[in-house]
């Protein structure tokens, strides 16, 4: 096998002339970008003192909105905290902070913890035992070693515990990804997996609910992941006993993954089964998919009836009309002509009009 692949590797190596062709095409993109940047630098700077004025106004508003009850409550909390501090003779500052940032933000909520984040969550616990409830996005954490700080990050899929290290936790529809830059971290995933990660290691905790796995399947499909991975997520979701609505969506994700992998027969069969059981909220869309998969899997024979039905109901798209025309052009040229004309009226991309017109001419139409 090595010889084959070596030959192919050598012949598909990026050659200087190919690189220079792509580079020259990219030149205008880079130039446009530089132009936009230079125009942006022409924007006037904020007037002097503007930031200070805004801060002062915000401080004024904040001051007005605090009522006496809250102030009394605040005093009581502070007094209790002070009493606790004295009692424990150790720093136990309660932490309550909403972490929300639409651009990367860095802060140091306690003397030994530094957070850099993009996304949202909540910080709670104490200075020595901070607890982060992380909902979406990425949080990078640095904890000073040997200071006795026991920090945890909790997401829907994972619980990460650490004493003195640096790591990041990213949560998205795909699951929760934990990546350690230095030190050691213990990760407990919701699916029961527990691992101890060292520097440079990472762990992905997958969702376990059917809805969570549907989200993962969709996110994987959206980012162009391998169809096998989308299928794995959809199949695990279907095994998690979803309700009817989530089941329907998981089946659609499954058939789209089959189609992306050109496994047309499986996509066609699955769409057929889903339609036979009613199709749920996606019934109409499923008829179109069933017809499309049918053409790809078995040709006209499998799809003509469905395409005719869609066309009779006035629901066929221009592409479906063109496809049906191709299927019936030999046996029913007049019908094919009508379908191609209807497709032209319904609207097809300009680039495709000449080819359709050519087909019409071949059929003897106008």
């Amino acid at each position: 096998m090595k010889h084959l692949f070596r030959t192919f590797a050598e012949e598909t190596r990026a050659r200087p002339e190919a690189l220079s062709r792509v580079e020259s095409r990219l030149e205008h993109v880079v130039a446009d970008r530089a132009l936009v940047q230079s125009l942006l630098t022409e924007l006037p700077a904020a007037p002097a003192g503007a930031e200070a004025r805004i801060r002062a106004r915000l401080a004024e508003r904040t001051g007005r909105s605090v009522n006496w009850g809250l102030r009394a409550g605040g005093v009581a909390v502070v007094a209790m905290a002070a009493a606790l501090l004295l009692w424990l003779r150790a720093p136990v500052a309660p932490l309550t902070e909403a972490l929300r940032a639409e651009a990367w933000r860095t802060e140091q909520p306690t003397a030994h913890v530094s957070l850099t984040y993009l996304g949202e969550g909540d910080l709670a616990g104490t200075a020595m035992q901070p607890r982060i409830e992380w909902r979406s996005g990425t949080v990078q954490v640095e904890v000073d070693p040997n200071q006795g700080v026991a920090l945890t990050v909790q997401t829907r899929e994972a619980r990460v515990r650490v004493i003195g290290t640096g790591f990041s936790v990213g949560r998205s529809a795909l699951g929760t990804a934990v990546r350690v830059s230095h030190g050691r971290v213990s990760v407990d995933c919701e699916d029961g997996t527990s691992v101890l990660l060292g520097a440079g290691e990472h762990q992905l905790c997958l969702p376990t609910s059917a809805a969570g796995l549907l989200g993962r399947a969709r996110a994987l499909a959206e980012q162009g992941a391998a169809p096998e991975d989308v299928l794995a997520a959809a199949e695990r979701g279907l095994a998690a006993e979803p309700d009817a609505a989530v089941r329907g969506e998981l089946e659609v994700a499954q058939m789209e993954a089959y189609a992306a992998d050109q496994r047309w027969t499986e996509a066609y069969d699955l769409a057929g089964r889903a339609l036979a059981s009613g199709g749920g909220a996606r019934a109409e869309e499923l008829r179109h998919l069933h017809a499309w998969y049918g053409v790809q899997a078995h040709g006209c024979e499998a799809a003509t009836a469905e395409l005719r039905a869609l066309n009779a109901a006035g629901e066929a798209t221009a592409f479906e009309q063109v496809t049906l025309a191709g299927c019936v052009s030999a046996s029913e040229p007049a019908v094919a002509r009508g379908l191609l004309q209807a497709a032209l009226v319904a609207g097809v991309p300009d680039a495709q009009r000449p080819a359709i017109q050519q087909q019409l001419d071949a059929l003897g139409g106008q």
Partner: protein
């Protein structure tokens, strides 16, 4: 030409909007992207078109890259999405008679450089599933380590190992089905 390991400081600077760093990064990434497009795109995709589109996405989306250390997997993900789009477009065009690009002529520059053997390997690779194709290209053609590939594909290393075996089996099955010339097939059997 194996991209990566990226210069993290350069990625950070590019993400922060430093044009010079961004251009250096692109110049370093382009050869690797072009090779991925030529090897993963198959005979119907114009590798240069696809590589151009990948770099445009990188230029416009670099500020959203969360972790500079993950530049490689991020770039591979973009390449994968762009290639999926190009392959879909080719498939869609094949619906309309007269519009379909006919086989290997879609990228004349690349095709001119492929020997008969290279073209047959390309066809066989095109016939296996996307995930098997990625594994074969990254491990058997680009000779990356399993660890590197696991990082690029964001998969556990165990999954990569089991996929390598299945990918090679799938490739051999396709080679038989496509009836590659006996000499080629014998070489496959000897090598595997």
């Amino acid at each position: 030409m194996r991209l990566i390991p990226p210069d993290i400081a350069e990625v950070r600077a590019a993400r922060a909007g430093n044009s010079e760093a961004l251009q250096d990064l692109m110049a370093r990434a382009l050869p690797c992207v072009l090779q991925w497009c030529a090897r993963l795109g198959g005979p119907r995709v114009d590798a240069e078109d696809a590589a151009h589109d990948v770099i445009v996405v990188v230029l416009t989306r670099i500020h959203t890259l969360a972790e500079p250390e993950l530049f490689g997997p991020w770039l591979f993900g973009i390449t994968r999405r762009v290639l999926a789009g190009h392959r879909r477009r080719r498939m869609f065009e094949s619906w309309i008679p007269g519009l379909a690009r006919t086989g290997p002529e879609s990228d004349p520059h690349a095709q001119a450089e492929l020997s008969d053997l290279g073209r047959q390997v390309q066809l066989a690779l095109d016939a296996v599933s996307v995930d098997h194709r990625e594994i074969l290209v990254l491990i058997d053609i680009e000779e990356r380590t399993e660890r590197e590939v696991a990082d690029l594909l964001s998969l556990p290393i165990g999954t990569v190992r089991s996929r390598v075996h299945r990918a090679r089996q799938a490739f051999l099955a396709v080679a038989r089905r496509l009836q590659l010339p006996a000499v080629v097939f014998e070489r496959v059997r000897e090598g595997s």
